[in-house]
Symmetry: C2
């Protein structure tokens, strides 16, 4: 039928890949372009490649048969609820259980202040949606989580990075940055921080600094968004006290079952002051009506029937062994001039290359040598990070990690030879944004 | 700890319900306020109330034990995939199956152009996100789906309603509206339409008009967003041909398993031209990283192992019986002056009250008499709909539907007596937006 009509709009586009809508998109969408780096990662997902790139938890460690039984039981006995629409705020019983989980980090909160979200990524999206007008400033550690930077960018926020060291965010830098921005008239809407086992840097904000960061933000009237997916995955001692535990009105806390149970359920949450919580629920309904009752009840059933604290301990042991494998191999194999962080938990090591080397330029060669990582530039919104890379130890088994490091060390050795011969290592082929896809976030 | 600090920001808010962030929200969030109508619906969910308000499908009709078995099997045999992160675009096998479902409505499409979303509500949200700048115009039927109006409003779109009659959208009105808006310099971004068994009106766009609507939008260069959750739930004959079946480049099609299987999985989708699809995937990743692999594979497993076409037939018979119960009871019981639509499928009847009556004002009295409906004003963004109400027949059993109509007819009789005595029926107590929650959408 369409052939008979006058296609003022679609003549050029019919059957072609030209975008007929190119001049119709919203301003926020014009920057949404897929990066060249993605094609490389498609190659990197082949089994012969050791991927130190992905942030995927090792879900195979779960008792899959038991999880299968509990979801079957859930559908058979409570199917008419589990398969139905739920409330925008999320299942009340699960919200109670979430409060129990948060209590492990010193948080005292009521289920009424929790909003269940489609992973904590959606909590980030909704917080940004309700607070950010185009041009507003978000403060974030430099480097910071690539998925958060993508969301802030989608709402046209201006991200300003605050320096960190191996004890996390530097309070003096935070105070100076805020002062400079506020003096210049910028509207700072919130500080986005991953204080514990940071992604990608693997560092943790120490206790003294936690108090200082809260105090600085309170004085400046800046909301703190505390993203804490890895807090229960520490390798030493008890979980750290969350920022939210010491400031109920100034902190929005984001949590997730993606790393302590499984990302396939997409169950995360936000804990927020009452008024913010109200807005989050309305934004949630506008975005997806309600989250999947089925997955929410499945997570609730898991928490009720399975020894979840023991499972988290098992995950901790597993990831500690892998971290040790990665750090040990780096120590033995990496050429002089490379440095890296030593995470006390979580999934990631942040490595700094010798001067003159560029991690994005090295990636194609590394993939050819069957090892992958995420270049550092993805974790900065200001072009920083070229000499850095994120190495994940969460997914490959220890022997594979060591083999991956061996391959990567070989590639870096070659790059150093290039540099010493020509004055520089490989240079990146393009300067675009290099946001990896969901499995690498 | 916080007590020792200077709380420039939180003095007023600590321990109180005052919103300390009231001057910090984004412009788009200022209109996000919960409506008074919600408190009423909380009451309406009590078992003694017959709810003709909710749009909840009757999932109890599903073979729950079999669904339980298939999800157990899924976790036990493919758990390491089902519980892991997935791709932003959605599971490739499920996208193939979605194409098979859409073929029932004459759509020929490749899985590569499908994006799986968190219900079709999220598809709506993402489409709006990539196309709408504040002030842009969205055309929509008057009345239209309350959840869509909420999303458009959240992105600060201006919704302009186009008149419809019992054959759906009126092409002449569409053409005139477009002409007037474009002449006035408005940027019309898309037409949002539910052509088949419309929510809330229950009417269906006839075949001649389908061609006309497509032609008008093509000539004017306006994208059509075809929302089709009910298309397979027709009571007579074969499914209608979708608009998308006749225009692959000018239509974004939104589909859902919420009504043909179950809303608790939150699996919907968008089928879009290539370039728009690319933007949708990037917006999806920014919003939630990826949808739940677990629920996607569960839906895929259901489609693979269960007689899903037969199940849809069973749903059709069930809903046809309930529609007949509702229409029959309205015919017998409603006072003169009430009129209503006669849906050929889907979930909803749209009723018009006699002059001088206001459906929002009647709602509290109706709830006191143990029957609930959704007032018409929620389905208009311009204050229209006061004399209308949406009656859903999808959830209550036929006898309950008849009882609900009996109660409602009694309330309307009383209102008519009020009107005849005082010149008007009850008047609404407030003039706010009355958006109901997710289970009523």
């Amino acid at each position: 039928m369409t052939k008979e009509l006058d296609h003022g709009r679609t003549n050029a586009a019919h059957g072609s890949r030209i975008d007929a809508y190119v001049d119709r998109y919203a301003a926020r969408a014009t920057g949404m372009v897929a990066s060249e780096i993605r094609a490389l990662f498609a190659v990197a997902s082949r089994p012969e490649v050791v991927s130190l790139a992905g942030g995927m938890p090792y879900v195979t460690a779960l008792p899959l048969d038991l999880v299968g039984e509990l979801v079957a039981d859930l559908v058979a006995t409570r199917g008419s609820v589990a398969l139905q629409y739920g409330s925008g705020q999320g299942d009340p019983a699960l919200r109670e259980q979430i409060c129990e989980v948060m209590r492990m980090e010193g948080i005292e909160a009521g289920a009424d202040d929790v909003v269940v979200t489609v992973g904590s990524q959606q909590a980030l999206d909704l917080i940004t949606r309700i607070f950010i007008d185009p041009g507003d400033v978000v403060l974030a550690e430099g480097p910071s989580y690539v998925g958060a930077l993508g969301t802030f960018s989608a709402y046209q926020a201006k991200v300003v990075h605050v320096a960190m060291d191996d004890q996390g965010l530097i309070p003096e830098s935070l105070a100076q940055t805020i002062y400079a921005l506020q003096t210049a008239g910028s509207r700072i809407k919130f500080l986005y921080t991953i204080p514990t086992f940071q992604n990608p840097a693997g560092v943790t904000l120490n206790e003294v600094r936690r108090r200082q960061v809260l105090e600085i933000c309170q004085r400046a009237g800046i909301l703190v968004v505390e993203d804490n997916p890895y807090g229960l995955l520490g390798f030493d001692g008890e979980p750290l006290r969350a920022l939210r535990a010491d400031d109920a009105e100034g902190v929005v806390y984001l949590g997730s079952f993606s790393k302590t149970l499984a990302p396939g359920f997409r169950v995360g949450w936000a804990l927020a002051p009452h008024a913010v919580r109200d807005k989050l629920v309305l934004a949630m309904e506008s975005a997806v009506l309600s989250h999947s009752t089925f997955t929410q009840l499945a997570v609730g059933q898991y928490l009720t029937t399975q020894p979840w604290r023991e499972q988290i301990k098992a995950f901790r042991e597993l990831y500690r062994e892998r971290r040790d494998a990665l750090l040990g191999a780096l120590e033995v194999l990496m050429p002089d001039g490379c440095t890296w962080t030593r995470p006390g938990g979580g999934f990631f090591v942040w490595m700094t290359l010798p001067e003159g080397l560029n991690s994005k330029a090295i990636l194609p060669r590394a993939v050819a040598e069957r090892v992958a990582f995420v270049p550092g530039t993805g974790f900065y919104s200001d072009g920083g990070g070229a000499r850095h890379m994120r190495l994940s130890y969460c997914y490959p088994e220890p022997d594979r990690i060591r083999e991956g490091v061996r391959r990567l060390a070989g590639v870096i050795e070659q790059e150093l030879q290039l540099r010493d011969t020509f004055g520089t290592g490989s240079v990146p082929g393009h300067a675009g944004v290099d946001t990896p896809g969901p499995d690498l976030a």
